[in-house]
C-alpha cells in the first residue's frame, strides 16, 4: 500500500488543483503536462521496457491527431468519437510498420521510425484535398472552459498509467523485458519475440494516437509541421522518457514535468528575468537575448538530452540512489 501512497496523493492533488488554480495559463500547462505523461509512458513501454527506441513518435501522435481532425472536418462527426479512431489509426499505421522493421536487427527500427515521421509529415503536406496541406485543419472547440479538457486528460492519464502498470506486472511485461535484455535467450525461453514486440508497439502507439486526438480537440488546430514535428514531438518524447528514467512506471511523469518546465522557462524568457534587466538597464543587449531565449527551448531540449545521457543515463528515477549519494551526500545503507 505504501507503494501506492505517493501516486494517490499526487492524483488527489491533480483533482483538486484546478479548483484552486484558476488562471487558465497554469491549467493549460498542467493539461499539457498530463498529455506528455501519456506520450512519455507510451514511448517508454516500447523503448524502456521492450528495448525498441522510437525516434519518430510524432508519426503516431500526428496520425491520431489527423484521424480525429479529419473525421470532424469532413464528416462533422464529434471529435470525441475521433479520439478512439485516433488511437486505432495510430495502431493501424504502426502495425505494418512494425511487421517490416522488427525483422531487422540493430538500430534499423529506431532509424525507420525517424523516416516514418518524415514520410507522414510530407504526405500530410502533399495530400491537400484530404488534409488541407500546410494550411492545416481548424475545428470548433467543444468547450470554452479548460476544465472539461483538464478532467478528460486526467482520466486518460490515469488510465494510461494503470494500463502500463498492469502490463508491466504481467506476462507481457516479463516478456518485453526479456526481449530487451537478450532476444536469443528470449526465443529459447519460448517467447515469440516478433509477436510481443508488435504487441508492445501497438499498445504504445494506441495511447500516443489517443494523445494526438486529444491534442486536436483541445487546441482546435493542427498542421503537418506541428503534429509531425521532429524536435517538438519526437525528440521531446524521447526526452520525457529519458529524463525521468527509461524502464520505470513514474519516470515519464517526472520527465514530462521537467520538459514542460524547461519549455516554459525559456518561453517566458527565464520568467521575465531578461526583460526585467532590459527595462532596468535600458541595454539593448538584454532585449536581444530576451527575444532569443523566448524561442530557444529547442536549445534547452538539446542540452538536456546531452546532460542526461552523459550524467544520468538511467534518468532521475532510475539514478535516484546515485543522485542522493552525490547531491545530498547521503551514504547508501550498509
Amino acid at each position: 500500500m505504501k507503494k501506492n501512497l505517493y501516486p494517490l496523493i499526487f492524483l488527489l492533488a491533480l483533482i483538486v488543483l484546478p479548483l484552486l488554480l484558476r488562471q487558465e495559463y497554469y491549467q493549460h500547462l498542467i493539461i499539457l503536462f498530463m498529455m506528455w505523461v501519456i506520450i512519455g509512458s507510451a514511448w517508454n513501454l516500447l523503448a524502456g521496457y521492450t528495448g525498441r527506441v522510437s525516434f519518430g513518435h510524432a508519426a503516431f501522435f500526428g496520425s491520431g491527431a489527423y484521424a480525429a481532425g479529419l473525421l470532424t472536418y469532413h464528416y462533422a462527426i464529434s471529435p470525441w468519437w475521433g479520439m478512439v479512431t485516433g488511437g486505432l489509426l495510430a495502431t493501424a499505421v504502426a502495425f505494418p510498420f512494425g511487421w517490416i522493421t522488427f525483422r531487422l536487427r540493430g538500430a534499423y527500427f529506431a532509424l525507420a521510425t525517424l523516416a516514418l515521421n518524415e514520410v507522414l509529415k510530407d504526405a500530410a503536406k502533399i495530400a491537400e484535398p484530404l488534409t488541407n496541406g500546410m494550411v492545416g485543419i481548424l475545428i470548433m472547440p467543444t468547450f470554452s472552459s479548460k476544465l472539461p479538457y483538464y478532467y478528460i486528460i486526467l482520466f486518460m492519464m490515469v488510465l494510461t498509467i494503470l494500463c502500463m502498470r498492469l502490463t508491466v506486472h504481467s506476462k507481457l511485461g516479463y516478456y518485453f523485458i526479456s526481449i530487451r535484455e537478450d532476444q536469443e535467450a528470449a526465443e529459447s525461453m519460448g517467447i515469440n519475440t516478433t509477436r510481443y514486440k508488435m504487441i508492445s508497439l501497438c499498445i504504445g502507439t494506441f495511447w500516443t494516437g489517443l494523445a494526438g486526438a486529444f491534442y486536436m480537440n483541445y487546441m482546435g488546430f493542427i498542421d503537418p509541421s506541428v503534429v509531425f514535428s521532429l524536435q517538438d514531438l519526437s525528440i521531446a518524447a524521447v526526452l520525457v522518457g529519458i529524463v525521468g528514467g527509461v524502464g520505470t512506471i513514474y519516470g515519464p511523469a517526472v520527465g514530462a514535468f521537467i520538459m514542460i518546465a524547461v519549455q516554459e522557462f525559456f518561453r517566458s524568457g527565464f520568467f521575465g528575468l531578461f526583460k526585467y534587466f532590459a527595462d532596468k538597464t535600458g541595454s539593448s543587449a538584454f532585449t536581444t537575448v530576451s527575444e532569443f531565449v523566448k524561442t530557444a527551448h529547442t536549445l534547452g531540449f538539446g542540452l538536456l538530452v546531452i546532460f542526461v545521457i552523459l550524467l544520468l543515463p538511467n534518468g532521475i528515477v532510475g539514478d535516484w540512489p546515485k543522485i542522493k549519494r552525490k547531491v545530498f551526500r547521503i551514504k547508501p545503507e550498509n
Binding site: Y174, A185, M189
Partner: protein
C-alpha cells in the same frame, strides 16, 4: 515411435559444411553425450535442433513430429529446452525474474509463474542468489541460472551446452549431481561437454563427431576404445 531423432543433418556456412550428415537417436530418459574436438559442429547441431539455424537438408523429429521448420520459440513450447555455451543471462532482471519469465512458457498468470519459478529454483539449488541481479552473478551461478531457466519451461528434452566449462572441482561435482537429478526427475538430456571424465561418467550413450561428421556412437566404454575417436582427440600417433 522414437522419442527424438535427427536424420542426416546438413548445414553449410558459406561453402563450408559445419554439420554433414549427422544422424542419431535419443531414447526417452537417457543422458546422451555429444562429443568432438573444438569446431567439430556440436553447438551447430544444437542450434539446428533448437531452430536458431535452418537445415540445408535432413530432418529433426521429436515425439513423431517434424520440428526443423518451426521457429525457436515453438520448439521450446513443444518441450525442448536449451542452455547456451556463452551464457545469456537477462542481466538487469533478478534471478527470480529470469526464471519467472521462462515459466510463462507454461502458465499465464504471474502467481502461477512465480510458484513454478520458485519450485524450479529450489530444485536447481539457486535459492541463495534468487534476489540478485543476473548480471552480478559469478560464472558458476550463471551456468546454473541457464539450466534453471531452461528447466522452468518444463522441457521433456534438455540440451546442455558446456555447462561445466569454467567451474572449479567442487562446483563441477554439484553440476554433475544436478544433471543426474534432472534426468532422474524424468527429463531426457543431450549434453555437450569438453571435460572427458564428466561426460564419460554421466552419459548413457555417446555420439562423437569430427569435422561435422559422425565418427562413432555407443556406450562410454565403446566410444573410449573407438579408433576414430582417439585419433580425433589425440592425433593419429596414439590410435
Amino acid at each position: 515411435m522414437s522419442f527424438f531423432r535427427t536424420e542426416n543433418l546438413v548445414k553449410y556456412f558459406g561453402g563450408l559444411a559445419a554439420v554433414n550428415n549427422v544422424s542419431f537417436e535419443v531414447r526417452e530418459g537417457e543422458i546422451f553425450g555429444l562429443i568432438g574436438p573444438n569446431g567439430s559442429g556440436k553447438t551447430t547441431t544444437f542450434n539446428l535442433i533448437s531452430g536458431f539455424h535452418r537445415l540445408n537438408s535432413g530432418r529433426v523429429v521429436f515425439k513423431g513430429q517434424e520440428i526443423h521448420r518451426l521457429p525457436t520459440y515453438q520448439i521450446c513450447r513443444l518441450g525442448i529446452g536449451r542452455t547456451f555455451q556463452v551464457v545469456k543471462p537477462l542481466g538487469r532482471m533478478s534471478v527470480l525474474d529470469n526464471v519467472i519469465a521462462a515459466a510463462f512458457a507454461r502458465v499465464n498468470t504471474l502467481r502461477e509463474a512465480r510458484d513454478l519459478a520458485l519450485e524450479t529454483i529450489d530444485f536447481c539449488g539457486i535459492v541463495p542468489v534468487q534476489n540478485l541481479l543476473a548480471k552480478s552473478l559469478p560464472i558458476a551461478w550463471r551456468k546454473r541460472l541457464e539450466i534453471t531457466r531452461a528447466m522452468a519451461t518444463r522441457p521433456a528434452l534438455l540440451l546442455l551446452d558446456e555447462t561445466s566449462a569454467g567451474l572449479n572441482p567442487t562446483e563441477l561435482l554439484q553440476a554433475i549431481d544436478l544433471i543426474k537429478k534432472i534426468r532422474d526427475n524424468g527429463t531426457t538430456i543431450i549434453i555437450i561437454e569438453h571435460i572427458m571424465h564428466v561426460i564419460m561418467s554421466i552419459s548413457d550413450r555417446i555420439h562423437a563427431i569430427n569435422f561435422g561428421q559422425t565418427i562413432g556412437e555407443g556406450t562410454p566404454q565403446e566410444v573410449a576404445q573407438n579408433k576414430a575417436v582417439i585419433e580425433a582427440y589425440l592425433g593419429t600417433d596414439y590410435a
